[in-house]
């Protein structure tokens, strides 16, 4: 009972004092402002390409119209003495121009600026959101609501849908709760530590350049291939990236192999709203971490797919994954952690994240699956895409979306080397999946 009361107390993210209301960052978000800079921005992106050019005034109006429905996003980041926090920002968000390089050149710590931006260019509308604010689950609702209202202002009414919010309805308090704290169970053991991950070594692109390689795959064929291997589409993508990492590791001389970790470990986010009943629009995702030991000889692709499959299925999301909450929330509730000034916390977080968090991962696969828009908007949108946040150390960060009969698989990379993307798509192609490639930089694969 006591634990539940505490959980409720900590889950309440909206606070108020003599200077007005403010929001606590959720448990996962606490680390992101500390770790982000103008290159590794921790922005992720959702983009929709419409069938006709975007009408900017309508988009601006739509954004302004829906903004009051998402008060917890209309904030900017402030430094407190103990923690970063979000303070309501009395401004109306406006779309900005989309450039060649997405999710770059953004400083979340800048005052007077929303931790998200809506970008537009030609036929494309994109939402880039900082992870301190929300994860894909929350951003997707915001984005869909924006699209629905844009089209409504263009004269196309759409049917109501549960993931399109009504701007006139009051926000539900659960929408800005910290669900990690709400579903914290102190009795769970913390996760096992993991061996170091293999990383490719490559020089970085010049600052503010970000390469996006998009593979467009027919969904039927991908499903057929993954079914033939007895795995899911996400697992198939994981295996393709692991296969690429395996090839790259093999090409390295022995001393380079020894310097890097032995495991190909991918971070596969799982939407915890599917497991715990929360309506939160803040972060609420955790990770599967399928991995294979690359020291144990060559794996055939089928073997890799099977291993990833067994690895993911043997970690039941109801039991193993909440251990991550037990670790993260448990630590943040410790009295001595809370009493450290923010500056000290930042140093400690950076050290901990560099030695633990990043070290575990070779890359990630975030598959949002089949996305839908309420009718008749579906026919007005040509494609939907997502992009994972940029990272200086991991390569092979894949964001995938299924839209209508195609899967849009986006690799984002800050590295000069294109090997992971090239080998992963080559592998998918070798399985008989026709892959069409696009890239925002010249010299595509």
């Amino acid at each position: 009972m006591e634990a539940e009361r505490l959980n409720q107390k900590y889950a309440n993210a909206a606070r108020s004092d003599e200077f007005g209301p403010w929001y606590v960052l959720d448990n996962a978000a606490m680390i992101f402002p500390v770790m982000s800079d103008r290159v590794a921005t921790y922005l992720f992106r959702l983009a929709a390409t419409l069938t006709e050019p975007v009408h900017l005034p309508s988009l601006s109006a739509a954004l302004a119209r829906i903004a009051p429905r998402f008060p917890y996003y209309m904030v900017d980041l402030h430094r407190g003495f103990f923690w970063n926090y979000l303070q309501p920002l009395d401004k109306i968000p406006a779309p900005v121009l989309d450039t060649l390089y997405p999710v770059q050149d953004f400083d979340v710590r800048k005052r007077g600026q929303f931790p998200f931006r809506v970008r537009v260019r030609g036929r494309r509308i994109a939402l880039e959101m900082h992870h301190a604010l929300s994860d894909g689950g929350g951003a997707l609702i915001f984005f869909k609501t924006l699209l629905a209202w844009y089209f409504r202002l263009r004269g196309i009414e759409s049917e109501p849908a549960p993931d399109v919010f009504d701007p006139d309805a009051p926000p539900h308090p659960e929408e800005y709760e910290d669900a990690y704290n709400r579903f914290f169970r102190s009795e769970l053991p913390v996760p096992e530590s993991r061996p170091n991950a293999f990383r490719i070594s490559s020089p970085l692109l010049p600052p503010y350049q970000f390469r996006v390689t998009t593979g467009i795959l027919p969904v039927n064929k991908v499903k057929e291939v993954s079914k033939g291997l007895g795995v899911t589409v996400t697992e198939l993508f994981c295996a393709a990236i692991m296969d690429a990492l395996q090839e790259i590791r093999k090409s390295y001389p022995a001393w380079m192999r020894r310097r890097s970790g032995p495991m190909a470990t991918l971070e596969v986010p799982i939407n915890m709203r599917k497991i715990y009943p929360s309506r939160t629009m803040r972060n609420f995702s955790l990770y599967f971490m399928p991995s294979v030991d690359l020291r144990l000889g060559h794996y055939e692709f089928g073997e890799l797919a099977e291993l990833v499959h067994h690895r993911i299925k043997s970690e039941s999301p109801e039991r193993e994954i909440p251990r991550q909450i037990a670790r993260n929330v448990g630590l943040s509730r410790k009295q001595y952690v809370r009493l450290l000034p923010l500056g000290v916390k930042e140093v400690a977080m950076r050290a901990a994240y560099n030695s633990m968090g990043k070290r575990f991962m070779s890359g990630g696969v975030s598959n949002l699956g089949l996305l839908t828009l309420p009718e008749p908007l579906g026919s007005r949108v040509e494609r939907l895409e997502c992009l994972m946040p940029p990272s200086r150390v991991t390569c092979g960060n894949l964001g995938a979306v299924t839209w209508e009969d195609k899967i849009y698989a986006n690799f984002g990379s800050l590295m000069k080397s294109r090997e992971v993307e090239r080998l992963a798509f080559k592998r998918l192609a070798s399985l008989g999946i026709p892959v069409r490639l696009e890239c925002n930089m010249e010299d595509p694969l």
Partner: protein, 447 residues
């Protein structure tokens, strides 16, 4: 290439010295004398129940006939300065009566006798082998050859079979090779460290007692239930065993559950001859260890089957299991290890065996699969029985085999409590696999 030469050299176990021939222990066996005693005898048992009473003189005759075909089993354990070794025995093997608890009453370190024994009583012929000598595969070939010879002497010749040795053939030198060393891989990573396992608490039976309890299931029904859950029979039984451990763990008071040992881990031996072409009759078995963290439970039985299925699939691969060879055989090759006197080796062996072996395991479940016999012997044998070797810290272990459409699950236990067995068969009967239970202490009953 140099590894190959070294491997072949290290795989040799037969040596000649001024005192005569002697055999080295294989890599898995070297640790066993240190951890065996009068309680944990390291004896496992393969028993055959015939359709008529055993004729003792004929059995003795058959044993004497087949003995020369298995020179590497006719040995006694001796202590050297650095290692234990086997010295060929001058004693002829003798059939003894099958009285008292099985697998008991032989301290392999002190016995100035063979490390196997053939016992008979009524319709039952039992071969008890020390794990220092061989694993289940080797023991089974010996038992089948003995049976074939016994029936040949009775005038029932059997068809040739690959796992029944013919007596006029010469023993193949590969039969006593140390296959762990032969298939050793240099620079292969060692297994990852594992957490310690939960042990059902409770007092042990008095010295010399080993309770054997067998549950008999319909094989087809068990297969059907396993298939319905996308699992194998072994995985289904492993999950049932974990479920039994979980039940015991949940019934403990909270302070006992807060202890660090909270994994329900079931060791499943894997016959490495499946992966590597070896004909050895010495040990060539390694393990997979599916486990669940009991603190994350309680799990439902169906959930456990699913988890076990995926965890077994992850571990049951040649490259994963080869890590154990790399650690075990690699350790035995280190000059430093080799130069340590046996007394010290034994001390460290006990420590290592606890921290890397039994300490990580809640119980053992070995599945020898479907038994086969060449015609017409298959009609003469009513049942096969396997009894796992008693162990000091793992009080209750299980051995499984199938014969004639029946699945025999035999628990060998040193614990007074029958909770593990009771809960195991209870969960099986909850999925409509009702076992016929037999226990040497009780009259037959339904569970």
């Amino acid at each position: 290439m140099s590894t190959n030469v070294a491997n072949i050299r290290m795989a040799r176990t037969l040596f000649q010295s001024t005192g005569g021939r002697y055999y080295m222990l294989d890599n898995a066996a070297i640790i066993m004398p240190a951890i065996s005693d009068l309680v944990a005898t390291s004896l496992f048992r393969i028993a055959l129940v015939l359709d008529e009473p055993v004729r003792l003189p004929i059995l003795q005759h058959a044993l004497s006939n087949i003995a020369p075909r298995f020179p590497y089993f006719l040995v006694e354990l001796r202590r050297g300065f650095f290692w234990y070794y086997f010295q060929p025995s001058r004693r002829p093997p003798v059939v003894i009566a099958d009285l008292g608890s099985p697998c008991q009453g032989l301290d392999p370190r002190k016995a100035r006798s063979h490390l196997f024994r053939v016992r008979a009583r009524g319709r039952r012929v039992a071969c008890e082998f020390s794990h220092i000598l061989a694993d289940g595969y080797g023991g089974l070939i010996f038992a089948k050859t003995l049976l074939a010879e016994y029936y040949r002497l009775l005038g029932v010749p059997s068809e040739p079979a690959p796992d029944v040795f013919t007596l006029d053939s010469e023993p193949n030198p590969h039969e006593w090779e140390d296959a762990y060393h032969r298939f050793f891989r240099e620079n292969w990573p060692h297994p990852a460290p594992l957490p310690r396992a939960f042990r059902p608490p409770g007092p042990a039976l008095p010295l010399g007692q080993y309770r054997v309890l067998t549950g008999i299931l319909d094989l087809e029904a068990a297969r059907r239930e396993a298939r319905a859950r996308d699992a194998s029979v072994t995985e289904l039984l492993t999950a049932a065993l974990m479920y039994a451990y979980q039940g015991i763990w949940e019934s403990l008071p909270a302070p006992a559950r807060r202890r660090k040992e909270c994994m329900a881990a079931v060791e499943i031996p894997v016959n490495m001859r499946r992966f590597y072409p070896s004909r050895t009759l010495r040990n060539f078995t390694l393990f997979i260890l599916p486990s669940v963290d009991l603190r994350l439970g309680p799990y439902t039985f169906e959930e456990l089957v699913r988890i076990v299925h995926h965890r077994v699939a992850l571990q049951n691969e040649e490259r994963e299991i080869a890590r154990q060879i790399s650690r075990n055989a690699g350790g035995g090759r280190k000059l430093l290890v080799r130069l340590v006197p046996l007394v010290l080796k034994n001390f460290f062996a006990r420590l290592l065996y606890d921290s890397l072996g039994e300490g990580l395991i809640t119980g053992l479940l070995t599945n020898l699969g479907a038994m086969t016999l060449p015609a017409p012997l298959d009609r003469k044998v009513e049942r096969f029985e396997f009894v796992p070797a008693p162990s000091r810290s793992l009080k209750t272990n299980a051995a499984v085999c199938s014969w004639n459409g029946e699945l025999h699950i035999t628990f060998g236990s040193r614990a007074q409590s029958r909770e593990v067995e009771r809960r195991f068969f209870a969960v099986l009967s909850s999925i409509n696999l009702r076992a016929r239970i037999e226990c040497d202490a009780d009259p037959p009953s339904e569970c």
